[in-house]
């Protein structure tokens, strides 16, 4: 998105010695956190549409009962690939992109601590995603056993199987390198006056997220490696015939998988905690309780994994333990929602596009949290499990939560990154279309799940027809609405409304965080000497 913006820098700074190198090679070998951040964000946006097209294939097939467009195998590949692309290609890289751009700017660092590794982790991500995408064209098709890769079903994957495993390895290495870089940057590169408890919450949430990533990605890599050796080297980790246990895989997977969903939501919390105070013109309510709540959620995420497996045949003690532990997550999550509400309370609110997306996030994420609370109750989860109720739940915690906040972050920081203001009218149009259609898309799925429609089926009984049709209409509305965002981003890079933004961009933003003390757009190299003034409005 800022290829043009970068050119823009060139004109402004062509007399300086330390600009980017000329030509496309710049993007291949760059070690600049802003360049790499931009590449991550552009890549994530492209993948958002790739994964979105897959989702629309699914929703088109489910528009009416009967099999109309695709073979059930391809349908299963689509659900699998949609999840993998959205999780590993869109949401995670988008947050890494934000981290690359914002963490050095927010803590007063000149760049990331390990800039060459930063470049490598981006290109390994591209390699991993290309590898997994290439399986679509292989004999037997792309993996179709669900993104969870449960054995024994995943063993029936065709030629794609080892490629999918190696793709997971690449994505894992990329994530771990990114996480190490973020931790190293935050611990070593802060401006001297910035103590840990003065850091903006976005930096805090990413610090905690990075530890989650380092802890879980090796577990996932290990799980898929065991699948690989089961298939090709005669081991029997997950094969009962050889003394293994297919349920063991599920335990290992969800030990990774549950913290993984918090990898996607904790930075979301961080961005929301950054945006809401600025448009409420009030300090964030309960900064330190926000930090502790984030840490508490991260800790709890490691000890609740089997709530994804209540119906797998757990002993009663495990069911009770995982139920109680899961319920506990509601407490720190509730604290966060209350804090955001209290931040808005008696503020002086305005409703620019970033704020609209953030408010919608608080409301709709809370809805997703409520259904999460419902399914934490193990005996009732015996009804909800693996139905569209679950699909509705986790899409509420991902789309109108993580994706909405990523959109909010785009509108919020794009003026800073490019120096141009986006078109507010179009931004609001994008918001209202998204907010309405996302509910048309996902809310009816609660009804479908409660009425008895299982997940991951390409065709369904007649009584599920109506809400599936409504959901599909919502899906196409939502999907096409996102094209507005692409237009706005390109338009803003090209000059936007023509209005030059101030350094602060938003009213009094410089009181909240360091990036607003820099020029808009910031020069190619920033904070080559650490800033002495540390904003503390957010505390």
């Amino acid at each position: 998105m800022s290829a043009v913006a970068a050119d823009h820098h060139d004109h402004e700074h062509e007399h300086e010695h330390h600009g980017p190198i000329k030509g496309p090679l710049r993007w291949l070998i760059t070690t600049n956190h802003k360049d790499i951040g931009t590449m991550y964000l552009v890549f994530a946006l492209v993948m958002f549409f790739v994964g979105g097209i897959m989702a629309l294939v699914i929703r088109a097939e489910l528009f009416e009962p009967g099999l109309q467009f695709v073979d059930p195998n391809f349908f299963n590949s689509m659900t699998t690939m949609h999840a993998l692309v959205m999780v590993f290609g869109a949401v995670m890289p988008a947050f890494v992109g934000l981290a690359n751009w914002q963490i050095p700017l927010m803590i007063g660092a000149p760049d990331m601590a390990l800039p060459r590794m930063n470049n490598m982790s981006f290109w390994m991500l591209v390699a991993g995603i290309l590898l997994i995408a290439s399986t679509l064209f292989m004999e037997g098709g792309a993996p179709s056993a669900g993104w969870t890769f449960y054995p024994p079903l995943v063993m029936q994957t065709g030629k794609a199987f080892p490629f999918a495993v190696f793709a997971v390895h690449l994505l894992g290495v990329s994530s771990i390198m990114g996480a190490i870089n973020i931790i190293a940057t935050i611990f070593n590169m802060r401006a001297p006056a910035m103590t840990l408890m003065k850091m903006p919450l976005f930096v805090w949430t990413w610090l905690i997220t990075a530890f989650l990533l380092i802890a879980i990605m090796p577990v996932f890599a290990g799980a898929v490696t065991m699948l690989l050796t089961d298939r090709f080297f005669n081991t029997s980790f997950f094969d009962a015939a050889g003394g293994g246990d297919p349920v063991l895989y599920q335990h290992i997977f969800w030990f990774f998988g549950h913290p993984e969903v918090y990898v996607m939501i904790l930075p979301t919390f961080g961005v929301a905690s950054t945006i809401i105070p600025i448009f409420a013109r009030k300090p964030l309510f309960g900064y330190s309780s926000m930090v502790y709540a984030t840490a508490a959620i991260a800790f709890l995420s490691f000890i609740v994994w089997a709530h994804h497996m209540f119906s797998v045949g757990l002993p009663i003690a495990a069911e009770l333990y995982f139920m109680y532990a899961t319920m506990l997550i509601a407490i720190p999550t509730g604290v966060k929602v209350f804090n955001w509400t209290a931040t808005m309370w008696k503020g002086s609110l305005t409703f620019e596009t970033p704020m609209l997306f953030s408010i919608a996030f608080v409301v709709l994420f809370t809805l997703g949290g409520f259904t999460g609370l419902m399914m934490s109750v193990a005996p009732v989860d015996f009804q909800y499990h693996d139905t569209y109720f679950i699909v509705a739940h986790f899409h509420y915690t991902l789309v109108p939560a993580s994706i909405f906040i990523l959109m909010a972050a785009g509108y919020f920081w794009l003026p800073k990154w490019t120096g141009n203001m986006y078109n507010e009218k179009l931004g609001r149009l994008h918001f209202w279309l998204s907010a309405v259609s996302v509910n048309i898309l996902f809310f009816p799925q609660h009804f479908l799940g409660l009425a008895g429609m299982p997940r991951r089926i390409p065709d369904y009984a007649i009584q599920f027809a109506d809400w599936n049709m409504v959901s599909s209409i919502g899906a196409f509305m939502y999907g096409f609405s996102q094209l507005i965002f692409v237009y706005i981003v390109i338009d803003t890079i090209k000059g936007g409304t023509g209005e030059k933004v101030t350094d602060e961009v938003w009213e009094d933003a410089a009181k909240h965080s360091l990036e607003w003390t820099l020029p808009s757009p910031p020069p190619y190299h920033t904070f080559t000497t650490p800033p002495e003034f540390i904003p503390t409005e957010h505390l």
């Binding site: 292989m138 079903l153 409420a280 299982p454 009584q463």
Partner: protein
Amino acid sequence: MKIFKQLLASLVLIAMGLSTANADYTLNLMQGATQLSHELYDLHMLILWICVFIGVAVFGTMFYSIFHHRKSRGHKAEQFHEHTTVEIIWTIIPTLILVGMAIPATKAVVHLDNTQDTEMSIKVTGHQWYWNYEYLDSGVHFESHLDAGSEIVHRINGKDSGNFPNYFKLLKVVEGVGTKGKEINAATRSPSVKPTDVPNYLLDVDKRLVVPVKKKIRFLFTAKDVIHSWWVPDLGWKKDANPGFVNEAWTSVDQPGIYRGQCTELCGRDHGFMPIVVEAMEQDKYDAWEKSTLEKQKQAADLADLSHAELIEKGAAVYLKNCVACHQIDGTGVSGWFPALKGSEKVTGNMDQLIGFLQAGTSKMPSFRKLADNDLAELITFIRNAPEIGNNVGDEIQPNKITPKYDDDE
């Protein structure tokens, strides 16, 4: 904005208008047919109302703030950013609510887990893609496949239905399957059947799991190939069927009736096409069913000679139940997964070798020794000669000519 409101309103109206068409249409969890399912329904409603209550409180506060504390109304921001008492209160209250939820939830877990003192046991085995039921006390056992109506309609959807005359004859002859009286004229290729023409589309089976009411039944779950999950919403739970392991669950159905469900663990290509139908009946009716089923089970297969046309027509039914999931309704297979039967040397070549091959199975294809000789003869004649498959060898085999071609240890 006006346009969007209109769009939204029309969408809601469409949804409401459509919804009246289905009587069994529902927005909420069903209460179910057992004491346990009612208990779980009540728990579900309790938590739902707690969530609604919290939601109204939180969102109410937020929307009050959004409405009153806006800059455009001249509201000046206050600068408070901490309040320890309030923070403690809103940590403690949710904790108490959670404790209040955990108590009935714990009771329900214990109730759900109590498989003691059951009066009969049924072993359920998940297969790709059908269920196998064994009544451990009486010895009744059978496979339960998707019914022919749903099978034919979902597979022919989009294809030229005139190419499948045998299947359309089948739609009329298979017991319990109709197409709502719609006459299907294969010769004139019209009309094509749609999912809406099939009663209980995708939620019907050829053989129902019959159980007596008011009897505590223990279910044992396992699977042959991959993980499946057995779910009948009216019973209140689902349980995974894991290959190599056995899971337990129990039910006791209050009222006679037919309760439908589906496999809920992704199990491959036809995951969406392996429904479950439980029929609960009074004890005396159940006893009669058990007796007659056992008798039928003991009867030897009818090995009388059939005409060529009969062999093919009946073979279509056997093919539909046992082969169609992999080799497809027109015998074309799935590229990269399952080979085509059309023009296959194995299918159209030596008859004895074909019989041996079907009896033995391979690492990828299960053995079909479970088929009775008459079924096997019909199937073989069908796949070698049916226009649906695209083969035309011009021979046949009669049921009494099938002998074991495959030697094993038995």
